[in-house]
């Protein structure tokens, strides 16, 4: 569904990604592992159009999206819950969520359906629906971020380190929800540092190190691969 080929990208004089190749299949959960600074966020930001790639191609459902602006990409069916969440802090949870549907402009009934789906996934958000997003706890904010991405009814959901800064129990909860979304048929591209927990849910995984893919394989295979550890700890 998503094909990233020979992608190079970076900021100003910094090259972050070097010839990255990644494929995310429809309906599967694809994991991108890597220590921080390995380029996961840049990869995701390039896919969702926040950063322009320098070379290489990105295709989604056989159409090139590497030249599209981010609003076009959302409309094409890719939703990105970024690292740092980037919520609208002073708007209510519900507003944040409905804004997630901005590109889709769904009808009222569809919107309601999508909203119900998010609230089913994260019941706590229903309780807090009229609170300002900025006033929520980190975990709840992460749920809003995921929920907002889901509101565009994406074919591919990109999640960048949803567990960052969260307590282990909350992480568990969030990852469970991601797995649930995936099991309902939405493709997921997930970046995680917390490799072990995530590999349990994933179908396929890539390991990034210093802007390159150094390992890839079925999640179950990666789970106990010492190379993964090496990529993280530089053993």
């Amino acid at each position: 569904m998503l094909e990233v080929r020979d992608l190079c990208a970076g900021y100003d004089t910094v090259d972050v990604l070097h010839n990255v190749n990644i494929t995310a299949e429809a309906g599967r959960l694809t994991l991108v592992l890597g220590a921080n600074g390995s380029g996961k966020s840049t990869l995701f930001r390039t896919i969702s159009g926040l950063v322009r790639g320098r070379s290489g191609s990105i295709t989604f459902e056989d159409k090139s999206i590497s030249k599209l602006s981010s609003n076009r990409i959302v409309r094409a069916g890719i939703a990105h819950a970024p690292e740092g969440r980037h919520l609208f802090p002073q708007l209510s949870v519900e507003k944040n969520l409905t804004l997630g549907n901005y590109a889709r402009r769904s009808s009222k009934s569809e919107l309601k359906e999508l909203l119900t789906r998010v609230f089913d996934l994260f019941p706590i958000l229903q309780e807090k629906r009229s609170q300002a997003a900025g006033s929520l706890s980190g975990g709840q904010q992460q749920m809003v971020a995921i929920g907002r991405a889901l509101m565009s009814d994406p074919k591919l959901l990109i999640l960048d380190e949803p567990s960052m800064g969260l307590a282990p129990m909350v992480t568990e909860q969030v990852l469970q929800a991601v797995a649930e979304v995936n099991s309902e048929g939405t493709g997921v591209l997930l970046a995680e540092q917390n490799a072990q927990a995530a590999l349990g849910f994933a179908h396929y995984g890539y390991v990034l190190a210093e802007g390159r893919v150094v390992l890839s394989g079925a999640a179950s295979d990666l789970q106990n691969d010492p190379e993964v550890q090496k990529a993280y700890l530089g053993v």
């Binding site: 080929r5 020979d6 970076g10 100003d12 004089t13 910094v14 090259d15 972050v16 070097h18 010839n19 190749n21 220590a35 921080n36 600074g37 390995s38 690292e83 980190g138 380190e161 960052m164 800064g165 282990p168 540092q193 917390n194 490799a195 072990q196 927990a197 995530a198 210093e210 390159r212 893919v213 150094v214 390992l215 890839s216 394989g217 079925a218 295979d221 990666l222 106990n224 691969d225 010492p226 190379e227 993964v228 550890q229 993280y232 700890l233 530089g234 053993v235």
Partner: protein, 271 residues
């Protein structure tokens, strides 16, 4: 101990970014700070260098308490730093950048400059000499007249170090010095850091590139969720289960079994 950090904490609106962290930086050594994303490394850096004011705890440098001193005073005391996203005076030439570092420590006033007093001329000469020496030392002399924004990233990284060194620090703190440069460049950068230590400047660094850290650091401080979870030599840290857990998640025991289906890729080769 050159620097002693005791019980340092910082909360931002209820969130504990750094909590009760203690460690030492020994003179003439290289101390590294590592940890997963969001572990509080940069916050710790900012606390030590006076960009943030700690909520609790103390920082002692050369037996003097510098807790909560503003950044410029910390720098004047002998603690220099670089930034995560390389910061340079990007519209100035590389040489002017380093000169700015010299300027920061200079005592001369506008009066001196206007009337070209002996002190002024002496300092100007000294600054220029020091700049050239530092550019040579960091290996970027040939770029001295280039505008900082236009030089390759590696050169910028080195210029940032030269700039920091121009303030004649005793402790140099590097925030992700190897981010965004290639492996070869990283290796060369490691050499530079060793040379800096050889000059008599103690080095502390935050870094993600484990290859660099493991081969360079004398001691490593590992943070997770704002707390210190390990502090020791590279070997100690590497085998510390808490560190492995922090990085890889619970359940990882660092199994050594290698199974089929894994393609190893060499860098740059592509699919």
């Amino acid at each position: 101990m050159l620097m002693q950090v005791r019980g340092l904490s910082k909360t931002f609106g209820g969130l504990h970014a750094v909590e009760d962290v203690s460690f030492d930086i020994a003179e003439g050594e290289i101390t590294a700070i590592i940890g997963p994303n969001g572990a509080g490394k940069s916050t710790l850096f900012n606390l030590i260098t006076g960009f943030y004011r700690p909520t609790a705890g103390s920082v002692t440098f050369k037996a003097k308490d510098i807790t909560g001193h503003p950044a410029h005073r910390t720098a004047q005391a002998g603690v220099a730093r670089t930034f995560q996203t390389t910061k340079l005076f990007e519209h100035s030439s590389i040489a002017e950048n380093v000169l700015a570092g010299c300027a920061a420590g200079s005592r001369s006033t506008l009066i001196d400059a206007v009337f070209r007093t002996p002190r002024h001329r002496r300092e100007e000469k000294a600054s220029m000499d020091k700049t050239l020496e530092l550019l040579e030392f960091t290996g970027i002399l040939e770029f001295k007249d280039e505008i900082a924004a236009n030089v390759p990233h590696e050169v910028q990284k080195r210029a940032a170090v030269a700039l920091a060194l121009a303030t004649e620090p005793e402790l140099l703190l590097l925030d992700e010095p190897a981010a965004g440069i290639t492996e070869d460049e990283t290796a060369r950068f490691g050499q530079l850091i060793r040379q800096i230590v050889a000059r008599g400047v103690t080095v502390g660094l935050v870094e993600h590139k484990m290859s660099l850290i493991m081969s360079l650091a004398d001691s490593i401080l590992v943070l997770d969720q704002g707390r210190r979870i390990a502090w020791g030599t590279p070997e100690e840290v590497r085998s510390d289960p808490r560190v492995i857990e922090a990085y890889l998640g619970a359940g990882s025991q660092g199994s050594t079994s290698q199974e089929d289906g894994i393609q190893e890729r060499t860098p740059g080769q592509g699919a």
